[in-house]
């Protein structure tokens, strides 16, 4: 077999190439095949080679890049640390220009009086948290990859994390944004004030826009005082229903935990196989709760929750007294993802979010889907806000398993939407779920989204092929159309389906009907 080397395919034209090399220098404008390879992936399933990679260090440079790119009509894909699970930063087609923002990593200010932080887009989330903590402040959003991922990426995907219930998600901490528009115009949106009722909330429009409306280069973020203490409670339940019911009991008792995490039986078994510690393998769910606040308050709340757990029918309740003991319990939670990773060659990490009342039925439904599609699905999640992470374990190289994985994913989406939930709680849409968007967004709303996109990016150069269904999904390529649910809109508002339009029917690219 003769080797076929990927030397990159240039959609970016020669004049643009010269221009960008002049602006950034050859050190920060990369065209070597090796550099293209390492900027063509994220943590999702599919990768694609860019045509060139730009590494700007200032907003002016980003502006210049976009000015040149829009003049040349070259597609631009913004990228942070590449930890996305949906393919957001992966070029839709070979040859796109990737703009990697990790070198814009300055924390410009942490203001202890105003409780704000001013940062560049490439700042690592954990670095911001450390800088805030050094001044007794707190930046709560905590996506699992916080040590690697960047604030820019967090904002572009509206990233969440386990602290969602009490503290909200990234969106709730963005006061102002610096965004470079498609034509290179630098926009300053929102501001530094906590309250702001001045015209349209344009900064909010860019949160979760996944690089399709503009490139976020900086942000003013809200900080809050750091809670003085925290306490952990672990409870193992024989029955999933009892575990889920605990959430309502706790909230009903007037306690608002920072985090309530659920780990299902499949996860417990995987973790026990990975790092044995004599965990009970016959329980249906383990709940991990964390309360934070004043030392005296968390002390009381810990005891309250412990007794609520026992009332709810928990088999085993642990109330660690020290931080070290608590961390041991959280280690098991942190081990879930790696433990599952060792069970199969590939896994699809989903992030459907459902109303709290639907958690139990949806989790039961997930078990049925796993059985009917013949693939293991383990579930863990930030149960207090209804954000579940079903992980479908399969083998990407096996066409049959890949097909069944897509079927299972499709079933999951339908189950979530029919219960009044959403496609994605915190990962975003990317290319992975774009064909399913019409299931979750009603036709008129989808059209409005397209109109906004067309207004801000008339030439369509900003991260093309993401978010909106276009029949060009690398993940659905060559699969059977029957995996798509027949009835498109299943959104959260019952009755709204009557206004369904034909144009909203999702179509799957190259499939042939059976």
């Amino acid at each position: 077999m003769r080797p076929h080397f990927d030397d990159g395919e240039m959609v970016v034209d020669a004049r643009l190439l010269t221009e960008l090399t002049r602006i950034l220098g050859s050190e920060r404008f990369l065209t070597q095949p090796a550099d293209l390879i390492v900027h063509g992936y994220d943590a999702a399933l599919h990768s694609e080679l860019p045509g060139a990679v730009a590494l700007p260090r200032t907003t002016d440079e980003v502006s210049a890049i976009l000015r040149c790119a829009s003049a040349a009509g070259a597609p631009v894909v913004a990228r942070g640390a590449g930890t996305s699970l949906t393919g957001g930063p992966v070029p839709d087609r070979p040859g796109h220009l990737v703009v990697d923002l990790v070198q814009m990593d300055r924390i410009l200010a942490v203001d202890a009086e105003d409780l704000t932080a001013t940062v560049e887009a490439g700042v690592v989330t954990a670095d911001l948290q450390r800088a805030a903590e050094a001044r007794g402040l707190f930046y709560p959003p905590d996506p699992a990859t916080l040590r690697t991922c960047t604030i820019g990426g967090n904002i572009a995907t509206n990233a969440g994390g386990p602290r969602g219930l009490k503290y909200g998600v990234t969106r709730n901490y963005v006061l102002g944004l610096e965004v470079v528009a498609a034509d290179g115009t630098v926009l300053h949106l929102g501001g530094r004030a906590i309250k702001n009722a001045t015209g349209y909330a344009l900064a909010q429009l860019f949160i979760g826009s996944e690089g399709t409306l503009g490139i976020i280069t900086g942000a003013v973020l809200k900080l809050i005082p750091k809670p003085l203490a925290e306490r952990t409670i672990l409870a193992a339940f024989d029955r999933l229903d009892d575990a889920a019911a605990l959430v309502v009991r706790v909230l009903g008792a007037g306690v608002l935990p920072a985090t309530i995490e659920l780990i299902d039986q499949a996860c417990i078994r995987a973790v026990e196989a990975y790092k044995p510690a004599g965990r009970p393998l016959d329980v249906e769910a383990v709940m991990l709760l964390r309360v934070d606040g004043h030392p005296a308050a968390v002390e009381v709340e810990q005891q309250t929750i412990a007794s609520l757990c026992r009332e709810a029918g928990a088999r085993d309740v642990r109330v660690p007294a020290t931080v070290e003991e608590a961390e041991c319990l959280w280690d098991a939670r942190r081990a879930v993802s790696p433990a599952l990773g060792r069970l199969s060659r590939s896994k699809l990490d989903e992030d459907i979010t459902v109303p709290r009342s639907a958690i139990v039925p949806v989790m039961r439904r997930i078990q049925e889907i796993a059985a009917s599609r013949g693939l293991p699905i383990a579930v863990f999640g930030h149960i207090s806000d209804g954000n579940l992470h079903p992980e479908i374990l399969f083998d990407m190289a096996d066409a049959d398993e890949r097909g069944r994985m897509l079927g299972a994913a499709s079933d999951l989406f339908v189950a979530a939407l029919e219960s009044g939930g959403t496609l994605s709680g915190e990962h975003g849409i990317g290319y992975l779920k774009k064909e399913f968007l019409p299931l979750a967004v009603e036709p008129a709303a989808l059209e409005l989204m397209r109109a906004i996109k067309a207004l801000l990016d008339p030439a369509g150069i900003l991260n093309p092929g993401k978010v909106f269904p276009d029949g060009h999904s690398p993940i659905l390529r060559g699969t059977d159309a029957s995996i798509m649910p027949p009835n498109p809109f299943r959104g959260p508002f019952p009755g709204a389906t009557s206004r369904r339009r034909k144009s909203a029917t999702p179509h799957v690219g190259t499939e042939r009907g059976r």
Binding site: H4, A34, A43, A81, P338
Partner: protein, 467 residues
């Protein structure tokens, strides 16, 4: 001289494999391990080169994906690829956070070897001087711990003690020769005589003081024997005080770590076989080294020779006997002689090949904190590489200095009066770092601090008896 007339066979390293074997084929054998990588990026913040450059190609995830691309024939294993592989510090910090256990460090070393084979077999490459340099390091200077003795001894007397060093540094004459200047800047103050010369009369066995509790084969590293002879003398002294009969077998070759670092796995294997056959004839219960690179490499022999049917089980048995100095000392110290007071503020720097490769982090800290009078403070990022990393500091001087300066700032922030570590590369690098920072904080091997405590105990007893 024409190219064809070059004495290739003697200078080319690592070309023992069949010429038709491509780097891609060589790496394809490791593909199942690369395929584990889920590209999650958990390794990125642990990688000193990624953190300091912000370049994905300088990250563990990037390197793993590049290796995979070469293995799948999607990328040419050209010089650019080789550079990325050599720019890895081999500090193994990435392997701790990796959720699926990709053996990134050994993949990179294998990729170096593959890239090296390609450049050896490619037409008209590489230049003679580069090859000569490699040959000197791999087969000359580093091949046997003895080889460095005279050069280091001569440097010590002719250069440092004669005052020539002062003149050279004051005039800055070496600015014209950057690489030589870097070597000169690195040079710690050299001891009088190498370890082996000091114990020449004692032969291969140094008996324990008092009743023997165990017998250990001391693996003497090249740098510990010469540049850091004061530390290795202290190590053996401390072992003997703790009832260890120390034997130093003759004929030991280099442990193989520098050869691995330079991409010559085959030569490392050759040295490993020699060392195993010598060490397995000794009746010592353990093999101990006070050089983290050596003890780490010896522990890897099992892995290195696992595909060699004649050597797989022998190498695994040998590796199981290996202890780092700090590990062995922690086993012995409780029943050893009393430790005297050492009044000082100390911090500890984790050598990469001890903390990440061998996962030994607690033993040295516990030992330090057992010494009465030591005020121990942990430095931030204590297990981040100091930038020495084998030959990295000479190959990537500026990068290495950026990593080092960060390390030094972290060490200074603890208010420590002495920085303790357990590896010669780190000892030299940190010493230079403090010189660069214009401070005179001493850097000591763990064994030197322990010896100081034992000697202080001797003095305390002498005082008591004279009263």
């Amino acid at each position: 001289m024409t190219r064809a007339a070059e004495p290739r066979a003697s200078l080319v390293v690592g070309d023992r494999i069949a010429p038709e074997s491509t780097p891609g084929e060589a790496l394809r054998r490791r593909l199942p391990e690369e395929e584990l990588c889920i590209k999650c990026g958990a390794c990125l913040p642990a990688c000193p080169t990624y953190v300091s450059t912000g370049l994905e190609r300088e990250s563990p995830r990037g390197r793993t994906q590049l290796i995979r691309a070469v293995a799948e024939d999607r990328l040419r294993p050209d010089d650019y690829f080789a550079t990325q592989m050599y720019d890895c510090l081999d500090c193994r910090a990435c392997e701790l956070p990796c959720p699926v256990g990709v053996p990134i460090g050994s993949l990179v070393l294998e990729a170096r070897a593959a890239a090296q084979r390609r450049s050896n077999t490619a037409r008209g490459s590489p230049n003679l001087m580069a090859r000569l340099g490699r040959w000197t390091l791999e087969r000359g200077l580093f091949a046997h711990p003895r080889r460095m003795e005279w050069p280091v001894f001569i440097m010590g007397w002719l250069y440092q003690r004669s005052g020539l060093q002062g003149i050279v540094r004051a005039t800055g004459v070496l600015r014209l020769l950057p690489q030589l200047r870097h070597l000169e800047l690195w040079l710690p103050s050299l001891p009088g005589r190498p370890w082996r010369w000091r114990f020449a009369g004692a032969g291969a066995r140094l008996e324990s003081y008092g009743p023997a509790r165990m017998r250990a084969a001391y693996f003497l590293g090249c740098f510990m024997n010469t540049v850091f002879a004061d530390a290795s003398v202290a190590s053996v002294e401390v072992l003997r005080r703790n009832g260890v009969d120390v034997i130093t077998p003759r004929g030991i070759r280099c442990c193989g770590a520098p050869q691995m670092d330079l991409g010559d796995i085959e030569l490392a294997r050759e040295f490993a076989r020699t060392n195993i056959s010598i060490l397995e004839t000794t009746d010592a219960a353990v093999v101990v080294s006070d050089c983290a690179a050596c003890s780490g490499m010896l522990k890897e022999y099992g892995e290195l020779l696992k595909d060699d049917p004649d050597w797989a089980s022998r190498s695994a048995r040998l590796s199981a006997r290996v202890r780092d100095f700090s590990e062995l000392m922690l086993e012995l110290i409780h029943d050893g002689p009393p430790l005297g007071r050492v009044e000082t503020a100390a911090t500890y720097h984790d050598p990469c090949h001890l903390a990440h490769l061998q996962r030994v982090t607690q033993a040295p800290r516990e030992l330090l904190q057992m010494i009465p009078g030591i005020r121990y403070a942990e430095m931030p990022c204590s297990d981040t590489c100091c930038g020495s990393a084998g030959t990295y500091s000479f190959r990537r001087w500026h990068q290495s200095m950026a990593i080092l300066d960060e390390k030094i700032a972290n060490a200074i922030s603890t208010g420590a009066e002495v920085v303790v570590t357990a590896n010669p590369g780190c000892l030299g690098q940190l010493e230079m770092g403090f010189r660069r920072a214009g401070t005179r904080i001493p850097v000591r091997h763990l064994s030197q601090i322990l010896l100081e405590a034992y000697e202080s105990s001797d003095e305390e007893r002498a005082d008591h008896s004279s009263e």
